[in-house]
């Protein structure tokens, strides 16, 4: 998803030499080779999308059972989901934003160390990369459940915090905004670290030396040279974190790290589809989520000015 978005902005700078006659000539072989891909996209992306869009405008069947809907153009579905679920929508994006922020805060120094400082020791570099990816060897659900255990009221962590009076005696950790954002941050750190690593690994330290030579203190060099040069990695990493985090429903679920007050859009979509069988509402929420993310991503890429760096 994120890569599709990134790729779609790239041709704006590279499409200039389209006058090349070779590139413009349509080859039947190329079309033939593209066919499986196109077919796949039509079947598994376009069709469900259209179906989702149609569902989002469905109206309940007159005198029908729960879960029975007819095709219509009931745009009020959108108004209803926004008025009912606006706290969840706001929460989704603010949690995702917070998780992206913290993931960036943790991943940047990590990626910088692996990609720049550890260059002299390739073995250490590979070892650290393996450590970043290692959590993927264990299921996402299991890892989140493990955190639930660690944060439960009876856990050593919470008990110790309470014993040290760092936590009020009646307080809980699971089911709070903290635990959900923590879970999101934790689960998406590899998605942030890897793209950051790939750009920082290519960072030419001679630019940093030039910055130092031109009277910039280490902090100024970081802000004026390192950050702008690693922008492609920052953009890719934040998108790869923000987009799935905004739609995530595992971390915020009551069965995992969330509670009733921490439900995100993913949770209400799940509830509407599977429990309430309010398919139009769930579809409308899904379309809404997708649109908002697309708009945010579009503005973000435009503003960060990374088109030419990508």
């Amino acid at each position: 998803m994120a890569f599709a978005v990134l790729a779609s902005t790239a041709p704006s700078t590279t499409s200039a030499p389209s006058s090349d006659p070779v590139a413009r000539r349509r080859s039947p072989v190329a079309l033939f080779l593209l066919l499986p891909g196109i077919l796949y996209l039509v079947l598994f992306f376009l069709t469900p999308l259209v179906s989702l869009l149609l569902t989002s405008f469905q109206a309940p069947r007159e005198f029908g059972d729960i879960g029975q809907y007819d095709y219509a153009f009931r745009w009020q579905n959108y108004v209803e989901v926004v008025t009912t679920y606006w706290p969840h929508i706001v929460r989704s994006f603010s949690y995702a934003l917070a998780a992206t922020f913290f993931a960036l805060l943790i991943s940047y120094p990590l990626a910088y160390f692996i990609g720049v400082k550890a260059r002299r020791w390739p073995l250490l570099q590979s070892l650290m990369l393996v450590l970043v990816i290692a959590p993927f060897f264990i299921s996402f659900l299991l890892r989140t459940l493990a955190w639930k255990q660690l944060f439960s009221d009876e856990s050593y962590v919470v008990q110790s915090l309470k014993a040290l009076s760092l936590l009020a005696p009646e307080a809980h950790v699971t089911g709070t905004a903290f635990s959900v954002i923590f879970g999101l941050t934790y689960n998406f750190i590899p998605f942030m670290t890897l793209p950051l690593y790939t750009t920082l690994e290519r960072l030419d330290v001679r630019y940093l030396e030039a910055g130092n030579d031109l009277y910039a203190s280490p902090f100024q060099v970081f802000r004026k040279v390192t950050i702008p040069l690693s922008m492609p990695g920052i953009v890719a990493g934040t998108l790869l974190t923000f987009i799935p985090a905004a739609g995530d429903y595992i971390n915020a679920s009551r069965d995992f790290l969330g509670g009733t007050g921490t439900q995100m859009m993913g949770n209400v979509i799940e509830a509407n589809f599977l429990v309430l069988q309010n398919f139009p509402a769930a579809a409308a929420l899904s379309i809404l989520l997708m649109t908002v993310i697309l708009v945010i991503v579009g503005i973000y890429i435009k503003r960060s000015g990374t088109e030419e760096l990508l």
Binding site: R206, E209, A210, Y215, Q220, K224
Partner: protein, 399 residues
């Protein structure tokens, strides 16, 4: 260096007992060097001789293992790179790719909070005749233009000391000549101290007031370009700075003004004032352009050294001059550069020739001949000549 102010003039640089060791090897050992304020100083040497390390030490990008660095009398050894009144034109230029040319040039000014950075950056760009490209990105410029931006970015800060790390290496010959001239003009105009690191002996000789020839982490010889060329002290200098014909032999007689050396039975005289060693086994030499080619044995002349007969083994024409390789039995191969005063070569391959040169043009090296294998230098010039010839042949074949 304080914020908001330029250095009012160039400062002198002093390196005292500098030593730099990297894990596994010593890059520089006991380097002592003083560069007077306002001079154009060149550090010349082959790659790996420690010249770039010296420059990086001065810039503060490396820390010396031992020794002190003083700029304008102030000890900067413990200062960080960004605190030193020094700017560098990097070999790779290192222009920030995310900034325009103008912002690149204004970068140092902004960091030091100097008033009117944009106006001053434009001024510097005018000086290198690139102001019309101020709003381009560095990637959109040619190599020569990037080099000039890198220069503008450094000199706009009016550093007390400007370091140039082979900045002309990537340019073609014509552009290099042009930039050499520009650099020299700028240096004279703004009166900065320039420390130029290069492996190009011609560049060093045309631009610098003083050259230090560096080899294996040490300075072999230091002096004005002409002095270095005419009176090299070591075989390394004699061959790195231009070409030389070197001979080794024992000193057979000494007068109050000259020494005579026996080179495989031929007596060669060198003035006492131009010989660094006056007894025992010595290495003496003469520059190829000082040699005269004779087709008949030259008459004895006490003012000239003669050698021969030898056989011409190669003739290569290079426009202004012709290079002859002459094999003299039991001495080795000598290189002769002869000005093309007449049409056609003076001698053809296979011809028997004699060589002579003015006694005052010879020089005696300081090297202990035992250190270096006999005629190593001759072999070296021969390979150079052969390489030139083969490259010339391929060039002609391509044309």
């Amino acid at each position: 260096m304080g914020d908001g102010a330029f250095a009012d003039r160039g400062a002198d640089l002093q390196l005292v007992g500098i030593e730099k060791r990297f894990p596994g090897f010593t890059a520089i050992e006991n380097l002592n060097l003083t560069i007077p304020a306002g001079s154009f100083f060149a550090l010349l040497g082959p790659s790996g001789c420690g010249k770039t390390t010296t420059l990086r030490l001065v810039a503060g990008l490396e820390e010396p293992t031992n020794g002190r660095i003083l700029i304008g009398g102030a000890d900067v050894t413990n200062q960080k790179s960004f605190q030193r009144p020094v700017n560098t034109v990097f070999q790779s230029y290192a222009l920030f790719p995310h900034m325009t040319v103008l912002e690149n040039v204004a970068f140092g000014l902004r960091r030091r909070k100097i008033e009117g950075p944009v106006a001053k950056a434009h001024e510097a760009l005018l000086l290198v005749e690139l102001d019309h490209l101020a709003h381009r990105k560095p990637q959109q410029l040619s190599g020569g233009q990037q080099q000039r931006v890198a220069l503008a970015r450094a000199i706009v800060n009016r550093p007390a000391l400007l370091l140039l790390d082979e900045p002309l290496g990537a340019l073609d010959l014509k552009l290099r000549r042009q930039m050499q001239l520009e650099l020299k003009t700028i240096q004279e105009e703004v009166g900065l101290t320039f420390l130029h690191v290069t492996h190009d002996q011609e560049e060093a000789m045309t631009m610098a007031d003083t050259i230090a020839v560096m080899n294996k982490g040490r300075i072999e010889q230091m002096g004005e370009p002409q002095q270095l060329y005419e009176l090299p002290k070591t075989a390394f200098v004699a061959n790195f700075l231009g070409q030389s014909n070197l001979f080794t032999g024992p000193v057979v007689s000494t007068t109050s003004t000259a020494i005579a050396v026996d080179v495989s039975g031929q007596k060669i005289v060198v003035p006492l004032g131009r010989a660094h060693r006056v007894s025992g086994e010595v290495t003496i030499g003469v520059r190829p352009e000082k040699l005269t080619l004779h087709v008949d044995a030259p008459a004895h002349d006490s003012g000239r050294n003669a050698m021969g007969p030898g056989k011409v083994i190669d003739v290569s024409f290079s426009g202004v001059s012709t290079q002859y390789l002459v094999a003299v039995p039991s001495v080795g191969t000598l290189v002769v550069f002869a000005q093309n005063m007449a049409f056609g070569p003076a001698a053809h391959v296979g011809a028997e020739v004699w060589l002579s040169w003015n006694v005052d043009h010879g020089f005696g090296l300081d090297d202990d001949p035992a250190d270096t294998p006999r005629f190593e230098a001759d072999l070296d010039t021969k390979t150079i000549a052969q390489q030139r010839r083969s490259s010339l042949i391929t060039e002609l074949e391509e044309a």
